[in-house]
Symmetry: none
Subunit: 234 residues, 4 copies
DNA sequence: CATGAATGAGCTTTCATTCAT
DNA sequence: GATGAATGAAAGCTCATTCAT
């Protein structure tokens, strides 16, 4: 079963019925979503005023409500539109990867950075986490469209490593977070403390490099057992 | 230099001059801080109404403002009071640890869970990250009193491992995040998506167990080089 | 009919029934009235907080309400107590005056300054005028106890001048204000604009001197007619 | 030097830079200023609720804050706008007056009544005096734009009388108040005690007539000296 | 008597949302 | 479609007043 097959069941493709309607909405007010994303990420949902969003998008306050019934709907649209199918996009690249799983994993992590982490969309993680309890449906949407597919993608990679004897046996349900946690942490950091003091900033490349290095070594076959053999004596 | 020594410069002890005066005020309205912490973590600063906090603490709206000049001051007090000197407390335990650094690291991670992660205080991470850009001073306070000391604590442990030949050479500035990121991620998860759907919940023990296992193996000496030796052929 | 006789009908002597009760209240909380007078005059009724008054009087907030049922009652007490029987006091002095009415009038004006204008009680005019429409009963009280008697006192003096042929015939109902207006104006000025900028301050003695001089000359018998006779030719 | 020349330095003309922008805003909400003036004069600043002002102006609470950042700003706008250049307007009329200074002075006093005293603007005196210590800047503004020019205007008239030999030598710094005090007293009376009881009301014409008569006679040349000559003996 | 912590009605101010133009 | 003036519900905060100590 290809990785794509593993994912296609879970990923609920964006509702096609609404697609056309949504498409028209995005024609002009795509700028509204952009503006809203920025402001929501930076200030939070409640602290962002509808008028600010409109102003940043270069339209009037009234226009915003022409395209979005309410501030909440705007928020949901921001999340839904921004999330898009990030995972699916990255999927193809990962799937077509040919080579050792170690490199595949590293590749996936850096690809994520290029595709998502280094994008405006990166703020979504922070946004969703911050507002999850105020927008439960949205949290579920995020669960279904980002978390689950992402988890499966990582899991598929790790499983590939195990299947090919490269990686040792892992508790898959939790091992995936060894990849996910550092990446999500990075985006949240970038949009919170990292944005406040210069000293708190992290260099993304070095950061991912370090994390990938440790994770990869941490899942390699035999390394744990070897450590018990006291390799120093070799 | 002991680990404690490494930390004592950065950790700014709570101002003792005001402590007594403040202490009396907080005798009763400590409940206000408790209530506020819960609500701020769950709903965010802006979405939490002052009256809710008061009600949850069992007092009237007016009483809240008797003890905190404004909602913002309440927020800051929540963060400052809750943070306390978590790190310092954990410090003693870690410092007195005698044994292999592998176990020390695992111990530290679990200890953190008991001391902080499994506490009401755990929501602070989420809170600070969510509101950092709206409360820059608070972000800096968190930096100085939690992030920096925590980073130094982890760094000290890792360095111990390296010094004793247990761990391989690491890019310390980033390696520390291999320990920090999964833990912070856990608390944020717990207070956001994890609180929404049952399926998204993580078992903390298993989670930390898995993370610790992979990290520890990822930093062990010789494992990386061994991987290049293609151990499969042995 | 003596001047005293002219007044005794209008001046309602302070209610003797309540006197004893009031007396006890004044024992300690006289300081409350003092403090309240100052603050009410300076900031107005609404802008003065009960706690401020208490603090200035050196007692606790609760004590204030021990002596005055409400802030309004405090206000009314301030006015009633402060007004006292200023006019009556001045009355005796004026009545026993023996000499030309010109000097009597001047004497009355300066006496008022010593007895009232230069006293804490002087703020009452400003206070009553500022708050009259919010405290109609008090306005009437002031009418009956200050305005009317004062008007009669002045009228009596002027009438004396007319009767003795010193003053020309005057429209008494309005002529009295030639004496009253400048004096009331002085106190209001002193407690409003005069308290703000140094340059706006008036020297009371010089001010009254000038006013009295012009008024006195303005009411003298023959002077108007004489002026038409072109006295320059004499 | 013409009277106008004497004044032009002190009267600061309303800022023309902002005028146009402000003007548009006030096109409609001029009614807000009208409503606010009435209420502030009647009840004082603190006792007037923003909602009352809005209601009286026929708009909603929110609309008021659309045009005035705060209740205080509304208050200041009321004073500044209402004051306008009352004095300057009256100036032209007085300046072009040709005839005896006695009549000029009387004319000025009655003109003031028509132009200001009998207008909504008349409440400003009471308002400013009542709230001066709470709004020091405003008090200064009033000083500069009303008090000083008014004083100079009166002084100019009196000086004209002296220069032409109609009036005797006067202590000008205080003599001006013989004109000002009765007029200001009249407006304050009208908006405080005069508004409470019918019996306390003054007929403005008669009042001014009487005041003017006495003042004018009080400043005529030779009358003071004559009084020392003991004219009774003639 | 005196205190001051606690209350809650009431006020200022904000801001999402509407709608006439 | 687009605007932005107008709305009014809702939230933060104040302060006169009460009452247990």
């Amino acid at each position: 079963m290809s990785i794509k097959d593993m994912l296609c069941n879970t990923v609920c493709p964006v509702d096609n019925a609404r697609a056309k309607h949504v498409r028209r909405k995005e024609a002009r007010p795509g700028e509204l979503l952009d503006a809203a994303l920025d402001l929501f990420v930076a200030k939070g949902f409640a602290a962002t005023r509808a008028e600010e969003v409109a102003a940043k998008a270069g339209v009037s306050k009234g226009t915003l409500f022409l395209y979005f019934k309410s501030k909440e709907e705007l928020f949901e649209a921001v999340v839904r539109e921004t999330i898009g199918n990030q995972i699916n996009q990255g999927l193809a690249e990962v799937e077509s990867f040919d080579g050792e799983t170690i490199d595949m994993l590293k590749f996936a992590m850096f690809a994520w950075w290029e595709r998502v982490g280094n994008t405006k969309a990166s703020g979504i993680s922070k946004l969703v986490m911050s507002e999850a309890s105020n927008f439960p449906e949205l949290a579920n949407f995020y669960q279904d469209n980002v978390v689950k597919p992402g988890r499966l993608l990582i899991r598929a990679i790790l499983q590939r490593g195990v299947d090919r004897g490269e990686f040792r046996t892992l508790n898959m349900d939790y091992a995936v977070y060894s990849v996910i946690a550092p990446l999500i942490f990075l985006t949240m950091w970038k949009h919170s403390l990292g944005a406040c003091s210069v000293e708190a900033q992290l260099d993304p490349k070095d950061y991912i490099d370090s994390q990938a290095d440790i994770i990869v070594n941490g899942v390699l076959a035999y390394s744990p057992s070897l450590s018990h053999l006291n390799l120093n004596s070799i």
